[in-house]
């Protein structure tokens, strides 16, 4: 086996591992969300399929696959078929740049647990999250339904607005780490996690990612009760499933990124690095579910007010303060 083949094999193995783990986690996140929400509401949740209901994701999958794949007759055919993929693919692509564990020794070589260590990793994530808008926008527009269109217009405005505060809240971490490479950002947090230096940036990032993955306090694009189901009103079967699973992959990915940027990535005592990363990511997922069980939905104007008049100026001030602080530390 030559070096090149070995390299390619290891890369493919990593990609396959990420696909398998992330998709399974996403499916089980749906289940965990239903159970946790049920407990919060003093119910029991799905517990009939398999022991403790653990086979529920499989049952959901079979149900979605066997449902009728309906397309509204007035819909724009190709965009209607394309939009769910556009929503799900950027979410899972982002995982390419996240380091999910310390480098391991495998077959006599150092293998970093990361698919691609781009030197612009952080910007890569920003780019993909700005691309994720298209799934929402085109899906809603192509359905040719008024609810879907309203949902997608709301989604467009929301995603673009919160992307800005999300990007700005990440600038201080870049300033502290001195690199856009995610592995170096993680390496810079070996001693002290960035959440200690940057609690404000962390709070802004947390709110922004909740808005980015359209979770409940910010689920204006799909507000049931106002817009039926928002931008995916007209979708059924596995196409709806793609939107759905994309949303949950997004939760995992954004939780992983929050871990990487603020909670020290895979650093942690005693346990293996991979376990630490998964545990921190799942803690974020749990927090999102918990928030969903607690908070009511914001109004559209409140959302815009929060994004543009509170989070973005705060993030800018935070960048300025971080700059001054770094300069003073440099001078001393």
């Amino acid at each position: 086996m030559t070096d090149l083949t070995l390299d390619i094999t290891i890369h493919l193995a990593k990609i396959a591992l990420i696909f398998f783990v992330v998709l399974t986690l996403a499916a089980y996140l749906v289940f965990a969300e239903r159970r946790l929400l049920a407990w919060i509401q003093d119910r029991k949740g799905p517990n009939r399929v398999g022991p403790f209901g653990l086979l529920q994701p499989l049952a959901d999958l079979i149900k979605l696959l066997t449902k009728e794949d309906f397309r509204p007759p007035q819909a724009d055919k190709w965009l209607f078929y394309l939009a769910p993929a556009m929503a799900a693919i950027p979410a899972i692509l982002t995982f390419a740049v996240i380091p999910f564990g310390a480098p391991v020794r495998l077959l006599g070589r150092e293998v970093p647990l990361q698919v691609a260590d781009l030197n612009v990793g952080l910007l890569f994530f920003m780019a993909l999250s700005s691309i994720a808008v298209y799934g929402v926008a085109l899906g809603g527009w192509a359905s040719n339904s008024k609810y879907a269109l309203l949902g997608s217009i709301r989604g467009l405005a929301q995603l673009i607005s919160y992307e800005l505060s999300m990007g700005l809240s990440l600038v201080p971490t870049v300033m502290l780490a001195g690199s856009l490479r995610l592995s170096e950002i993680v390496a810079a947090q070996k001693g002290v996690w960035f959440i200690v230096y940057q609690p404000l940036a962390f709070a802004i990032f947390l709110v922004s990612i909740a808005a980015e993955c359209k979770r409940i306090p910010f689920d204006i694009p799909e507000a049931e009760g106002e817009l039926v189901a928002g931008f995916h009103t007209e979708y059924s079967g596995m196409r709806f499933g793609l939107f759905f699973v994309g949303e949950y992959i997004n939760i995992i990915v954004l939780g992983g990124l929050a871990t990487t940027f603020f909670l020290g990535g895979w650093h942690g005592p005693l346990l293996p690095s991979f376990v630490w990363f998964v545990a921190k990511t799942l803690a974020f997922a749990f927090f999102f579910i918990w928030m969903r069980g607690t908070l009511p939905r914001l109004r559209y104007d409140q959302l815009m007010h929060l994004g543009w008049k509170v989070l973005t100026p705060l993030a800018l001030v935070n960048i300025l303060a971080t700059g001054w602080w770094l300069m003073i530390r440099e001078l001393r």
Binding site: D76, V120, L123, M126, S130, V133, L156, I160, M304
Partner: protein
């Protein structure tokens, strides 16, 4: 192998752009154009400009085209049957001008021939940032001022004035647009 990828991406870019400008449906045109920008961004990456490549996706595909999409969706312009197609007299000057530009490009290609390419090194993020904020610091300031002016201008244009009949009734439309404009 890398040149082959470059030519494939170049073909994708040109074909997608061609489809985009031949499409009478504005939303489809934007989707084609986003495809073209993606291919172009990979070309940028291969030309050793990762930052520009990523910003191409963030700003062009993720913000400007989304802004177009937003305006089209908001003003309900996505009806090709209502749009007026360009007449025959519009085609001739366009084709002549395009042909002239194309001929100039091809002349360049033919006259010099593929010269030996200089081994340009890839430009890292740090070098790029030093050039941007050091050598061209004034340009950054000017651009930021320009963005501010654009913001104020868009705010002024988007404002509904109350002296025109229906003013103030459909407030949300103008407001949400304004909020979009600040993003790039």
């Amino acid at each position: 192998m890398e040149p082959a990828i470059f030519y494939i991406l170049a073909a994708v870019t040109v074909i997608a752009t061609l489809f985009a400008i031949a499409e009478k449906h504005a939303v489809h045109a934007i989707v084609y154009l986003v495809t073209s920008f993606f291919a172009l961004s990979v070309i940028f990456f291969m030309l050793g400009a990762p930052v520009v490549a990523v910003f191409e996706v963030i700003i062009y595909a993720g913000a400007i085209m989304v802004l177009f999409l937003f305006v089209i969706m908001m003003l309900d312009l996505g009806h090709p049957e209502r749009a007026r197609l360009p007449g025959g007299r519009d085609w001739w000057p366009a084709l002549v001008l395009g042909a002239v530009t194309l001929a100039a490009a091809l002349t360049l290609f033919v006259s010099r021939g593929p010269a030996a390419s200089a081994a340009g090194k890839a430009i890292g993020v740090k070098e790029f940032a030093l050039a941007l904020f050091g050598k061209y610091g004034v340009a950054v300031e000017v651009i930021s001022l320009q963005l501010l002016f654009a913001l104020v201008g868009a705010l002024y244009l988007g404002k509904r004035r109350n002296d025109r009949g229906e003013g103030g009734r459909r407030l949300g439309e103008g407001q949400s647009l304004l909020r979009e404009e600040r993003h790039p």
